[in-house]
């Protein structure tokens, strides 16, 4: 016998609005826990024991002739659909209490006053990179009621991901796009998720296509080539983008926001004040040259020293806050006051006083000095000659250490083609 039973409210509403008299449905029970979830449609990834359910318009269970374990009698009164639940016992069907899995309308009612559901349910966010950053951000945005997602990542869940990723050991080998789609739908079953398990550097047209009607793009990749490509697309389509990364061993990190007309990621990197980023994966870093081919396997493994999940969470958290602020900008939401606070282009965070931050002051006596566990905002000057966002690109044509080779003696050479 089931102790706690949930019925999907949206299914009851949909069944009541249909013209069918009876439909087979599905009951999933967490083994040995007495907890049952009833759905009209099979779950994509089911759990536990499955048993048969019938949704019926019959007025009494006594007229039901089937053998389902559960019978849900659906009635409509004054346009409101309601359900009565019965479970089969040795003495026939007996009525059971149940709880609704909330309908779309009710799901985020607890956010009322802060972020209204209807503000974000139509908002579309693209997330590029579903690693330890992108996975957390996707789920947080789903929890806040964001309703439309496009996910880009060609990777699968691997062992080295587990300590910082939202996915668990049961999901090893799954495409991250599939795993995070499930995680999003688990928090917001009414979200729409499009998945692109591709390398965006090789499929920029897909990114551009998705960006056309998107409200915001999260760049949570681990290399500058993709950030430059994303930045270019943001500039072209005049969309907002949030970039985040951790530096070595997640001793700190930074968040950058691109707003149309403002400095872009190319301006930021050209400004040359951010330390080198963290390398979390030997294979991908080998592929794009962050770990040069001449570095031995042993040295490469020494380079990859990832930080703790708790070290990247503050960075993800700020990315989420800025995203929600941008998505609800100009709308009536409870977080609008942040518009006066989160005004910077770039934010810098230090977790520990190591390497790049070793000169920073201890937290307890820092006063106005730079210290750890605190955000610092920076405005980045727009580079009027930026190769990503400017119409008047000024390339770096300087010599190296004062050396500029003579080339006028090349007039007599024959070029090998």
């Amino acid at each position: 016998m089931a102790d706690i039973i949930y019925i999907n409210h949206q299914d009851v509403i949909n069944f009541a609005a249909s013209t069918v008299e009876e439909l087979d449905a599905y009951a999933y029970e967490w083994e040995g826990e007495g907890v049952v979830h009833i759905h009209l449609h099979p779950l994509k990834h089911s759990f536990g024991d499955l048993s048969k359910v019938s949704f019926s318009r019959a007025s009494s269970v006594s007229t039901y002739e089937g053998d389902s374990r559960f019978v849900v009698l659906v009635a409509t009164k004054e346009n409101i659909a309601s359900a009565t639940l019965f479970e089969r016992t040795s003495d026939g069907y007996s009525e059971k209490d149940y709880v609704y899995i909330p309908s779309q309308e009710d799901l985020y009612s607890r956010n009322e006053g802060l972020l209204e559901l209807d503000i974000l349910s139509k908002k579309k966010v693209i997330i590029v990179g579903l690693g330890s950053f992108g996975s957390q951000i996707a789920i947080e945005l789903a929890k806040a009621g964001v309703g439309v997602f496009s996910l880009f990542d060609f990777d699968r869940v691997e062992l080295h991901n587990l300590s910082r990723h939202t996915c668990n050991a049961n999901e090893l080998g799954r495409l991250k796009t599939d795993a995070i789609e499930d995680a999003i739908l688990g928090k917001n079953p009414y979200a729409t998720v499009k998945k692109y398990p591709v390398n965006i550097n090789e499929h920029l047209y897909l990114l551009e296509k998705e960006l056309k009607n998107a409200d915001l793009m999260i760049c949570a990749t681990d290399n500058n080539a993709s950030r430059y490509n994303i930045s270019k697309a943001l500039v072209r389509h005049k969309k907002i983008g949030i970039f985040g990364r951790a530096i070595t061993r997640a001793e700190g990190g930074d968040v950058f926001r691109y707003r149309p007309g403002g400095p872009c990621y190319g301006c930021l990197i050209g400004a040359d004040f951010l330390p080198p980023e963290e390398i979390t994966n030997v294979e991908s870093a080998r592929g794009d040259g962050r770990i040069p081919a001449y570095v031995s396997a042993e040295d490469a493994n020494a380079i990859v020293q990832v930080g703790l999940s708790s070290d990247i969470q503050p960075i993800c958290n700020l990315m989420v806050k800025i995203s929600l602020l941008e998505l609800s900008r100009g709308l009536n939401s409870g977080i609008n006051s942040l518009e006066d606070d989160l005004v910077y282009d770039c934010y810098i965070w230090a977790n520990r006083r190591e390497k790049n931050y070793k000169e920073w002051h201890p937290f307890f006596q820092a006063g106005k000095n730079r210290t750890v566990i605190r955000w610092y905002g920076v405005n980045v000057p727009r580079n009027e000659g930026c190769a990503i966002c400017s119409h008047n690109v000024e390339l770096d044509v300087s010599g190296v250490g004062g050396f500029k080779p003579q080339v006028d003696d090349l007039g007599d050479v024959t070029l090998e083609l």
């Binding site: 993709s226 190319g266 070029l415």
Partner: protein
Amino acid sequence: MIDQQRYQLEKGVLCQEHFPENAYRFVGIGTPEPYLRIAAKSNSGKVYTLHIDLKEFPEQIPEVYITKMLKDYHGNNMDHPSASLHTLSSKNGWTRICHYGTNAWTPMVSLYRIYVKCRLWIEAYEAHLATGNNLDYYLIHAH
């Protein structure tokens, strides 16, 4: 991939730096396999042809090859990654030059600047052949 605007800019820079027209050629611009062939003459007068792959330029550091397999001081092919010789894995039987580190790379870097670094590499290479000193005796490592 290099777009038309960037291609015109790069061409303009080479012209501005007085490269003779016979000394370089952009090939496959607008196709998935664009590249630049450009000649480099060392101080000793030896001519090398550089092949600069523009598939992912300028978002990523372009692969640069000398269009033949060079030999090191000991007569070995320079076909493998070597920190001391500033080379990476070869392709098509060509020696690949390590010219930029990822942390130093920005899309602002011109093909001309890459050319300058490759010319320095060539000078260091010829000095290596003459003395046996590794290239990193002459060149610092970019990051």
